[in-house]
């Protein structure tokens, strides 16, 4: 299929359709509303389910219900809406049903603004919902990745019966780039829904989907199973990209939009004679800790750059375990740090680690 100029939000929505999305439940919130709008005309014309819910709380619980019924389902929102959905995430995680969440992050806290941000790193990766769980979190840095990772999110959600979240930001949602769509996959017919799904107890014992386990040992057993699954995901699904790390002695770690901004910083730093490299995590959970630890052994220092006050920074520091200096540069309020303000930070790290 030929490349087309895709806007990020529309690209994510269309990619979900190509991946076999059967039902979408969502609520408008800037800067992701184009996802909902795209699906509002595309899904009905394909005979699939589109429903604008009364709130993000209703959206996520509709997603929960449709997922329990065995359908391929997703919702999309932006930071304040994602906050509202956290309760649902927790239920979905414990019930082990697959669901895809698109989070096009905006400035916070509170109502914040509609400008791009990465302030949801913690609430995505650590999950603000109650109990012990993580979703798979995928952070695209460009439109092609947004498409490919959306498709991957559905496949991973299905494979592990888990939540998979796309953590994009407002700029990725609004920007346009040439990208290629995958072919349209057929929708899974209802009679092929999973054996665990609620499809009516015809000729079998009833299926019960619950997150309630009143006996402590039973709940612990569920938790142990969840943790084993998370370890399996961590072992199999960690993804990242590296730029000029082969000979780097200064490593930058940045994801999403600011990750690609740092690609420019690497080029500019190299032009000035600094041996800079970049690791851009694609999965924020599971986090590429092992690779960062490995690279930390080969560089003088690390610079983490984020559109927040330093959230992924904590995971980088945990990976590095204090063996190298880890500096941080972040902008908040919906501001994207530009190469000309990041480069001096890298030069400072260079100077500080030379002595």
């Amino acid at each position: 299929m030929a490349k087309e100029l895709w806007e990020g939000n529309a690209a994510i929505a269309e990619a979900a359709i190509r991946a076999g999305l059967e039902a979408f439940f969502g609520y408008p919130i800037t800067p992701q509303t184009e996802i909902l709008e795209h699906l509002s005309h595309r899904l009905p014309e394909l005979g699939r389910v589109f429903l604008q819910a009364e709130s993000e709380i209703a959206s996520i619980n509709m997603v929960y219900g449709a997922a329990c019924a065995g359908a391929r389902v997703m919702t999309s929102s932006s930071s304040p809406g994602i906050s509202l959905m956290q309760e649902g995430f927790s239920y979905i995680a414990c019930s082990e049903v697959p669901a895809v969440i698109i989070n096009v992050m905006r400035g916070g806290p509170g109502l914040g603004n509609v400008a791009p941000s990465q302030g949801d790193y913690f609430q995505a990766v650590k999950m603000a919902g109650h109990g012990d769980f993580h979703p798979i979190v995928l952070a695209p840095g460009n439109i092609q990745e947004a498409i490919d990772l959306t498709v991957l999110a559905f496949d991973l959600a299905d494979k592990y019966r888990t939540l998979a979240m796309i953590a994009a930001d407002g700029s990725l949602g609004q920007m346009m780039e040439p990208a290629e769509m995958p072919p349209l996959r057929p929708v899974r017919p209802p009679e092929e829904r999973a054996a665990w799904a609620l499809t009516g107890a015809k000729g079998r014992k009833p299926n019960i989907i619950t997150s309630l386990y009143l006996v402590e040992e039973e709940l612990e057993k569920v938790n142990l199973r969840l943790q084993a699954k998370l370890r399996e995901i961590a072992a199999n699904e960690v993804r990242w990209k590296e730029y000029s790390t082969e000979d780097a002695d200064l490593l930058m770690v940045a994801f999403g939009t600011v990750g690609r901004v740092c690609q420019t910083v690497v080029r500019e730093a190299r032009a000035k004679g600094l041996k800079a490299g970049l690791l851009r995590p694609i999965t924020l959970w599971p986090f590429p800790s092992a690779r960062i630890a490995e690279l930390a052994g080969r560089v003088r220092g690390i610079l983490v750059v984020e559109m927040n006050a330093g959230q992924m920074l904590e995971d980088v520091r945990l990976a590095v375990e204090g063996r190298r200096p880890v500096h941080f540069y972040g902008r908040m309020g919906g501001i994207i740090p530009l190469p000309d303000e990041i480069l001096p930070q890298l030069e400072e790290l260079d100077a500080a680690t030379r002595s």
């Binding site: 100029l5 346009m176 780039e177 420019t264 530009l338 190469p339 000309d340």
Partner: protein
């Protein structure tokens, strides 16, 4: 690599002009990014976009100092005239911006775009007039590439304006 900012009021078609440029660059097999920046209002606010055209993978989709800019109103002139990189191009919509650049290290083109567009029958093609001037001055793409981009990508409901848009591009190119 060209890093272009197109800025003006909402409703002046700055975002669309950037998209036409992005389509043309894509069709010519360049790497390209287009990223908007909206004001809080849908209309009447400031509307600008950044288009980056490159022959290698694009990192940052945003720049502080563009290599070229189209400024379609006074606030845009005040913001971006000082920011254009030395050797860069600045296209000024003279109809709405009475200022002159004092810089000698950039090439400034003064185009009475809104007047020309009005004379052509629709003031809304002022954006194409400016874009024609810019592309002609940069030389990164032939004017025909933009016309083809309009042919291929102009939304169905705007088809009736196709030839007017093309005419506006050519009219602007005369100023470069």
């Amino acid at each position: 690599m060209e890093e272009i900012i197109i800025s003006g009021f909402g409703g002046q078609g700055t975002l669309f002009a950037g998209q036409v440029l992005a389509y043309a660059a894509m069709d010519a097999d360049f790497h390209v990014t287009w990223i908007p920046s909206y004001g809080p209002e849908m209309r009447g606010g400031k509307a600008r976009c950044t288009v980056i055209i490159s022959d290698q993978e694009i990192g940052s989709p945003l720049v502080r100092r563009p290599s070229a800019a189209i400024v379609m109103n006074i606030p845009s002139f005040e913001t971006f005239e000082p920011m254009v990189k030395p050797g860069g191009v600045l296209v000024v919509n003279q109809s709405l911006v009475p200022h002159r650049s004092q810089r000698e290290d950039i090439r400034a083109l003064y185009v009475p775009a809104t007047e020309l567009a009005t004379d052509m029958g629709n003031m809304r093609v002022a954006n194409m007039v400016c874009l024609g001037a810019l592309v002609q001055a940069l030389g990164i793409l032939p004017l025909e590439a933009l016309e083809q981009a309009l042919d291929r990508h102009l939304a169905e409901r705007h088809r009736k304006w196709l030839s007017l848009n093309k005419e506006a591009l050519r009219k602007g190119a005369e100023f470069a």
